[in-house]
Symmetry: C2
Subunit: 294 residues, 2 copies
């Protein structure tokens, strides 16, 4: 495959679950009309970002895999004949939930799934309450459009995750995500946070010589517990090439369905001039497996 | 220590070795006059970037540690009462050389040394001919201005190196470097290369919540073998904070001696909101120690 047309669906969510699902589906359809061979949805696209509050009722949104949500998106992938990266709230058992990306083949079958490995927990992002850390490890998902290194949100801060995907032959790094600003942060801090988020991911693209797609949600969602003024999700989904060069950056406030053509042969040429994998000092990395070297 | 005043010396080099050393010394002195507590020199600052060609005569430039070059820079550190990060061509034995950063305490003693672990080799950068890969591992160097995570040039593309320094308590990441453009690259490619270089390092700062200083050489150096048109070293030494935010970027062509004040307490506050070290999946990283996961 010489080029890959990737569709990005960046949208707002609210408490109308059916409305959210419809938005994703409309976005997928729009991307396919524009020629997308692969469509990537944002993190937990069926719901509000419910992790703003620790609320047991929110577990009602979780569905088994296979199950209700999988059926919906499987049907869309098949109808649209497109490879689809979804991001679902998985109920594995009572009291056991994951933040799981399910990847569908264009015939609607499940190509593979990835359970978010790194789980954040900070004010407004109480994910450790909802999600058990993934137990499937870091493995690219083989599809008809290539080996997809699918990771989710908080994973994006971890070079280890990207590297493990690259070492396993991923041809592209993919991050459904949900990140935004808290209202009390200064404008300077907001700018630093967004830039850090983009830079660290572009860094993974560079370090591994791979293109990367990050799809973020957009819009303001209130904190229904009233503790904070909610989160303004910063949109700005982006695509970069294997030198971290920005190929597309979505707006900060708008919903978008965008198709970006990625030259999949650039990884080969970039890795020829910058063969980082050749020179890794695997004889000297063992303490990366430690929590801290103290 | 609440703030750290870091001096950067970015200069050209030519075949006049004594002249190169004088430039470094003048730069150190200028930085100290401006209040620097720590001065960082570029990679292999005593010489032209001799790795453009595989030439056995270039081994004449290498000196033992301790030895001639160490004596010179030890004396400067002591006279200037400054902690100094040098970057020297180390002769360990006949036929055994390293690319070694020697860090001097402000009393002129050697605080520690780091032997470049990742060694590149591509047209114009024939370092595998000259340098045996380091055998000292990744350990920060303890000094009176903090624990310095000193790495060298090609290391800057490896998230593993930065991570190991952070895990061992480094308070700042430091990269003496020598990188530039080859004349046949297009302007677009030059732009992508420079940006990738800066972005991947800023990514290490973000992933580890640490400030970072990268000091590059500047100026055009000819290829005396006549194979290429030489290297235009791209200068642009820079300092960023623990969110990858640029605090200073040097010009692309000029020699500079610049002092930048770094707020050393920001790492603590950034790591409180983004506690990446807390959530590392060390139970799932073991295959990072593999060459490739095939």
């Amino acid at each position: 495959m010489k080029t890959l047309k990737v569709g990005i669906v960046q949208h707002t969510c609210d408490t109308n679950r059916i409305g959210n699902i419809e938005k994703s589906i409309k976005g997928i359809e729009a991307c396919v009309r524009k020629g997308a061979q692969l469509v990537i949805l944002q993190e937990l696209h069926t719901d509000i970002y419910f992790c703003q509050v620790e609320d047991v009722d929110m577990f009602d949104s979780a569905k088994p895999i296979p199950g209700e949500d999988v059926e919906i998106f499987s049907k869309v992938a098949k109808e649209q004949q497109v490879v689809l990266v979804s991001s679902l709230f998985e109920k594995r058992a009572s009291g056991l939930y994951h933040n799981t990306s399910v990847v569908f083949e264009k015939d609607g079958s499940i190509a593979g799934k990835y359970r978010k490995m790194h789980i954040p927990d900070d004010p407004g992002y109480y994910e450790k309450f909802y999600f058990t850390p993934g137990d499937l490890g870091f493995h690219p998902i083989e599809t008809s459009v290539g080996k997809l290194g699918v990771l989710v949100c908080w994973d994006q801060w971890y070079p280890e995750a990207a590297r493990l995907m690259a070492l396993a032959g991923a041809e592209i790094l993919i991050y459904p995500t949900a990140i935004g600003w808290e209202s009390t942060d200064t404008d300077d801090e907001k700018e630093r946070q967004h830039t850090a988020w983009e830079v660290v991911q572009r860094g993974h693209a560079v370090a591994n010589g791979l293109p990367l797609v990050s799809v973020n949600r957009v819009g303001c969602e209130p904190d229904w517990s009233g503790v904070t003024k909610g989160i303004s999700f910063w949109g700005q989904s982006f695509v970069c090439g294997p030198q971290g060069e920005i190929l597309y950056r979505a707006p900060v406030r708008d919903e978008i369905n965008q198709v970006i053509e990625i030259d999949m042969q650039r990884s080969e040429s970039v890795r020829r001039i910058w063969p980082f994998l050749r020179d890794r000092r695997i004889d000297a990395y063992d303490e990366i497996l430690k929590r801290y070297r103290d």
